[in-house]
Amino acid sequence: MDYKSLDLTDQFVELIRRAATQLPQDMRQGLRKAKGNEEPGSAAEGALDTILLNVDIAEKNSTPICQDTGTPIFEVSYPVGVSTRKLADQIRKAAAVATQNNYLRPNAVDSLTGKNSGDNTGEDFPTMHFHEWDEEGIHVDLLLKGGGCENVSTQYKLPDGPLGAGRDLEGVRRVVLDAVHQAQGKGCGPAVLGVAIGGDRGSGYLKSKQQLFRQLDDTNPDPQLAELEERIYNEANQLGIGPMGFGGKTTALG
């Protein structure tokens, strides 16, 4: 295939539109299931009900599910011969068009001057990661991660004395539950937990975000981690923080 004249700008705009306005099916199912678990008439049930209603309205009107369309993070897999420089230009162009169409809120702000570029482009904005692969096609994933859940994201260095967390999987369990407790309702729960173990500070954060591309109901291929994930999910929900921090049974969806 000749990739020289390839222009995916329109496809990128459509990808942004869908990511901003349509919630994936696994998440909808998770929210519906969670709503069924909450006490009838509780604030938790009410919150989930409103969230589900909002998902329908957003899809119908092609408007953002959340006003904070966050930092767009593109993960692009491409075959030999594709110019990633051109793809990056097309992604930037698409981000500006999507902002113009109100699919995205203008979120690119100069950290020093505080000036908003107005079109979601700027230095290192949107975030893009390119991975060369052996397949023929180009595959693009997009994550729009908002500021609320960014604010409560955190990193722990094991061992952690006060939490009694050693440099092992039990230590990981302890610090993850602590992070969920610290977050309370501030990250706009119910949450999906993305956890990475190891690496350096930068790679750890990146890996933890990439976990969010997983389907809600998938199982970790490593049986030890699968067991840990299941346990943390169940225990996080025992904390009783609930949707929006209103209290309730759904603190995490997965």
Partner: protein, 203 residues
Amino acid sequence: MPELTTPISDEDIRNLKAGDTVYLNGVIVTGRDAAHKFMIEHFITQPVQVDEAELYADLKKLLDGGVIYHCGPVVKTHADGSYSFVAAGPTTSIREEVYQADVIRHFNLKGVIGKGGMGGKTLKACGEQPAVYLHAIGGAASFIAQSVKEVLGVYKLEFGVPEAMWVIRVENFPVVVTMDSHGTSLHQTIEAQSKEKLAELIG
């Protein structure tokens, strides 16, 4: 369901208890980090400058008995220059904890809408003023935008669309009182309960 309409009286505020759901009506103003910092630095800790006197007078009027909404909306600009809100859910409020109590007191705010709750300083100001913290549903931005019937104006648009102060008229905006004027904060209660549970799980 009980309704609240701006400007809100002290009596209406005193009648609200943490856990109540209310529908909010009337004119409110959005404000996030930049707006709060600006109000503190330009109006509250410093004498108001001549070139900002008009803005100050406008805000005094809008916020007296009024409500600030922690929200950075997605806004559509129409061909005639008018605006409408496309998506307008709450942003995380705790970032304004350092500013909020002073803003409540200075402007006689009766309510702050946001998500995630706020801390002890704000709770104290809510008791004294009186005022309440109202929790909107995060992740419900398109739904809440339907409650925003009209965009009446905007101040400090140079802060960028999310950080500007948008003056909006809302109808039946559903919110939950999570911090009342009697010293009760649902956030503190849930925090304490979940802390006990955490201690059981990792103790």
